[in-house]
């Protein structure tokens, strides 16, 4: 209970810091919402009037205070460039980004766990070496470039999907998921390669431990030693990595959404930054930040479930 309170406190403090710095960033970068909304033709008077209307003429701290006050009451403000409440604007975008994130994460789990175990079990053999070389290559390619490659190979050459032909959920659920496969693979693969490498080395270092010898001496077979004894221990460092992976996926999806023209939060974020649309930008940043913190919180809990040494300290 105390733990939960502490974590919630961390969440709130982190969100305040994150949103404040985003706010600060907006006051530092040139250009403002009023000007970008009115266009280059606007007169000075028009701009000033709009600035006053939007509260942009007040000091940064006051502006931030107002935003925070509204945010706490559940009002995320109104978008400057779309003239609609931020909540409404985000409503359709969030599921898209979440679907992309979940899919990418599943790909990472489903690929990296078996591959990590397999390569560790066959350490030094030719198949392990081939996989590790491929792994190294995939790891060093940035996601957006992989996205372009995937679009080219599977979209243009093999014609497995039509690049750019995004299918909204409302149209067809499976079509929507189908279109997301390529982008989520582009996000997942580099991270997945890292996951393979991490799990492999974690398993290998566990296999050196004395308790493994004890397990064999007790009459365990190789399979049981791996799944009953080693894996649980090897998962601990990897679990932390997975937690960080979620943040990485979300960050990457912002870029990948552009490559695959997916109308998720990423596209919206980039558009609203160039429009100096700070209510929208802040809304997205706060959302993403809370997502990351909540996921890390879940990882902590999972960690405690697996490792009794952590559980006792809590």
């Amino acid at each position: 209970m105390k733990y939960l309170l502490k974590k919630t406190g961390t969440l709130i403090i982190t969100l305040i810091i994150v949103s404040f710095f985003s706010f600060l960033a907006f006051s530092i970068i040139p250009g403002d919402a009023a000007k970008s909304r009115l266009g280059t033709e606007a007169t000075k008077e028009q701009v000033e009037m709009l600035q006053k209307e939007l509260g942009l003429d007040k000091p940064v701290l006051v502006q931030y205070g107002n935003w925070l006050k509204n945010f706490v009451t559940g009002d995320m403000g109104e978008s400057y460039s779309y003239s609609m409440p931020v909540q409404e604007l985000l409503q359709d975008k969030i599921p898209v980004t979440i679907a992309l994130t979940v899919m990418a994460f599943l790909i990472i789990l489903l690929l990296s766990v078996p591959l990590g175990i397999f390569t560790a079990q066959h350490e030094g053999q030719w198949l392990d070496r081939v996989i590790m070389v491929l792994n190294q290559i995939v790891m060093s390619v940035p996601g957006f470039f992989l996205g372009i490659l995937i679009t080219f190979l599977f979209g243009l050459v093999l014609k497995w999907f039509t690049p750019g032909a995004y299918v909204p959920v409302s149209e067809s659920f499976f079509g929507f998921l189908g279109y997301l496969i390529a982008p989520s693979a582009a996000i997942a693969l580099p991270r997945c390669a890292m996951g393979v490498k991490m799990l492999r080395s974690a398993v290998l270092s566990q296999l050196e431990k004395d308790y493994v010898r004890t397990a064999y001496a007790r009459g365990n077979g190789q399979r049981r030693v791996m799944y009953r004894h080693v894996l649980k221990n090897a998962m601990l460092p990897v679990l932390t990595f997975w937690g960080m992976t979620i943040a990485d996926i979300v960050a990457n999806s912002m870029v990948i959404e552009q490559v695959f023209t997916i109308p998720g939060m990423g596209s919206l974020l980039i558009a609203s930054i160039s429009n100096r649309d700070y209510p929208v930008t802040l809304g997205i940043i706060v959302l993403v930040a809370s997502l990351v913190i909540v996921v890390n919180f879940l990882v902590d809990i999972l960690y405690g479930r697996i490792d009794p040494r952590v559980r006792v300290r809590q």
Binding site: D210, Y211, R218, G219, N233, P308
Partner: protein, 270 residues
């Protein structure tokens, strides 16, 4: 029939160039229920000998020649499955480091029970019952409470008792103990030795006890094998080896034991 018979055992590390022989033509045998000690410095090959019996040698080392008979059957001829049935059921092993020899993420109870799970068809309730009995026998108090604890919540001495309980639970005929008391405090060490003695008497379980410490060997074993640089230097009844050692090496080893009376005398003089 002998319980264990090792004939002309040779072990080499083959991943160094040139391959290095660490055990050179070691032969010995044990009767049923006997407590045999192997003593030697680190690097004498005693641990490699012990590990090779259950074929638990690390990768990079192997038995290059020799035979190991357990109740008349050569373990070298066993398939992996057959070997798994011997490990933990007929021959159990405990190790030097009780701190790291237990799996940190599994409960003490589940690790003690594992032998039963692997080698018997007993129901979970029956397994638990026997595990608790073995824990009591290994001198662990409050066994019901300890059953659900994790290794890090226990002291080194208790962990070694857990290892012993896990070895006992399947009632093996041979227990190989590789320096089981080396990492423990002297008082705890004495308790563990007493415990092993009791178990040997009560169950007639043969114990192959490996140590670098002659004093420890003397308290427990009836016969001793002195190893040096991969060879058996001397073998014999414990009293004979202690009182009339034949080899220079054994004499040196004996001279290295700090003698209580002598040190007392010295202290008085000084």
């Amino acid at each position: 029939m002998k319980l264990l018979e090792v004939k002309d055992l040779n072990i080499e590390f083959y991943d160094v160039n040139p391959p290095q022989k660490v055990v050179k033509g070691v032969s010995f045998s044990m009767e049923k229920g006997e407590v045999l000690g192997i003593v030697g410095e680190s690097g004498s090959g005693k641990t490699q000998t012990a590990l090779s019996i259950l074929r638990l040698l690390k990768s990079g080392s192997q038995i290059s020649s020799g035979q190991i008979f357990f109740k008349g059957r050569d373990l070298a001829g066993y398939t992996r499955e057959e070997l798994q049935r011997v490990r933990g059921r007929k021959i159990a092993m405990i190790f030097q480091e009780p701190m790291t020899s237990l799996n940190p993420v599994l409960t003490v109870g589940s690790q003690i029970e594992e032998g039963l799970l692997l080698h018997t068809q007993l129901s979970p309730e029956e397994r638990k019952k026997r595990a608790l009995l073995a824990m009591e026998e290994a001198g662990l108090g409050e066994v019901k409470k300890l059953y659900g604890k994790y290794p890090h919540q226990l002291s080194g001495g208790m962990r070694q008792r857990v290892m012993i309980a896990a070895a006992l639970v399947t009632e093996p005929e041979l227990l190989i103990a590789d320096e089981p008391t080396t990492a423990l405090d002297v008082t705890v060490q004495a308790q563990i030795l007493e415990l092993l003695k009791e178990i040997n008497k009560k169950h007639g379980m043969g114990i192959l006890f490996i140590s670098h410490d002659l004093a420890v060997i003397r308290r427990l074993c009836s016969r001793v094998l002195v190893m040096n640089e991969g060879r058996v230097e001397e073998e014999g009844e414990i009293h004979k080896v202690f009182e009339q050692p034949e080899k220079e090496y054994t004499k040196k080893l004996l001279a290295a034991i700090p003698h209580r009376r002598e040190s007392l005398r010295k202290r008085r003089r000084g």
